[in-house]
Symmetry: C4
Amino acid sequence: MGEKKQAGEYVWFIPDCYYPEVTSPGHYVSHEAICVLNTGPEDAQIKLTLYFEDREPQDNFKAVCPARRTRHIRLDQIKDDNGNGIPKGVPYAVMIESSCPIIVQYSRLDTTQAEIGLATTMAYPMR
Amino acid sequence: MGEKKQAGEYVWFIPDCYYPEVTSPGHYVSHEAICVLNTGPEDAQIKLTLYFEDREPQDNFKAVCPARRTRHIRLDQIKDDNGNGIPKGVPYAVMIESSCPIIVQYSRLDTTQAEIGLATTMAYPMR
Amino acid sequence: MGEKKQAGEYVWFIPDCYYPEVTSPGHYVSHEAICVLNTGPEDAQIKLTLYFEDREPQDNFKAVCPARRTRHIRLDQIKDDNGNGIPKGVPYAVMIESSCPIIVQYSRLDTTQAEIGLATTMAYPMR
Amino acid sequence: MGEKKQAGEYVWFIPDCYYPEVTSPGHYVSHEAICVLNTGPEDAQIKLTLYFEDREPQDNFKAVCPARRTRHIRLDQIKDDNGNGIPKGVPYAVMIESSCPIIVQYSRLDTTQAEIGLATTMAYPMR
């Protein structure tokens, strides 16, 4: 990248998150991923804030995306500072805040029924 | 968020909406959702205007997304001021207008045939 | 909308179009749709230019989206000025040009195999 | 296009790439595609840089999208300067750099299980 401005933004949003409660037998488990790309020279310190329909936001999920790396944050595996995972079967939304510019994409693989449902979108950046 | 500018926009658009007429047996029913994130300190008063191919727009669907909450508006469940739902099996589009900045994502789960079709995209903001 | 600036852009792009050659038995046929929303007071005269991998662009597909209407242009049904349809089984891309600002979303439903593949994204606007 | 400014951007990003290891019998093989549209009068010389979670980026994948053409770059078929393909079963991200403005969309078709998972999104442009 050299002299170019660093790619991406500091804050991103994903309004439609959902961690399915059910997984059918097969190769995949139902999961969501927040996929981060950090093309810059510094590690990105990332904080996730979860927003719900009926309770206060939770802001104690953290991740790191090293310099010039990608990090596919699996939302079925991440734990907060107290060891708690993402609640299942509940609509939620996520704000991603990073210490340096990153690019963020959201994907969901749903195997609740026998077949796959696959969906992806770029997250929405704050500019 | 504190001193930061509030995230999002006041008006969003979703050109491709469709409420399938058929649902197969299984865990899920066919549905669409307009997923709203309000990171700000005020409740968002939301108005949906539906556009059709062959008739006048309908603008009497309303919803609220409270401060610092998400709201996943299920289009198979919302009713207008007269108690009418979204028409099924008809192509339509939606304009979302909010009293404060929000972020909007659209998702569709189609179980018309036995398997799942899952699709998502950020809505298009007016800037 | 009244005094507000009209929503949308005049030119949009969809790089990944593909009209599948095969449809399995079931409720749906494989199809793509370019979904247009026109919130303004004038009818939108729309021209589609198709780009291919191995031949000159084709720019003789037209459509109209009336004022304050949506139009879900089915790419398996549209005909050019000579009565020809979109070629099947060939990668292509589309530029959409409109006489007034519109918002454009692209969706594909693939029933080549028994199950549904459903995908959607906002088109990319020229600003 | 004539006197209009050329459409698109020089640099694009796709944080969530994944080349599935498994393909079920059927019409389709699992694949990803980076779909490029070049509406301008010059051929686009394209360089792909792959970012990984646990190793240095790889920047020796190249492609060309001729003037006024689309090019759907199949990531299961592309080879780098040494004849190596994209690694399978590993999360990665891609930066696309072009010698002239292009528009980029990413799609994935997953046939790991018997059914299709289909997903698409516009890539994220550097502006």
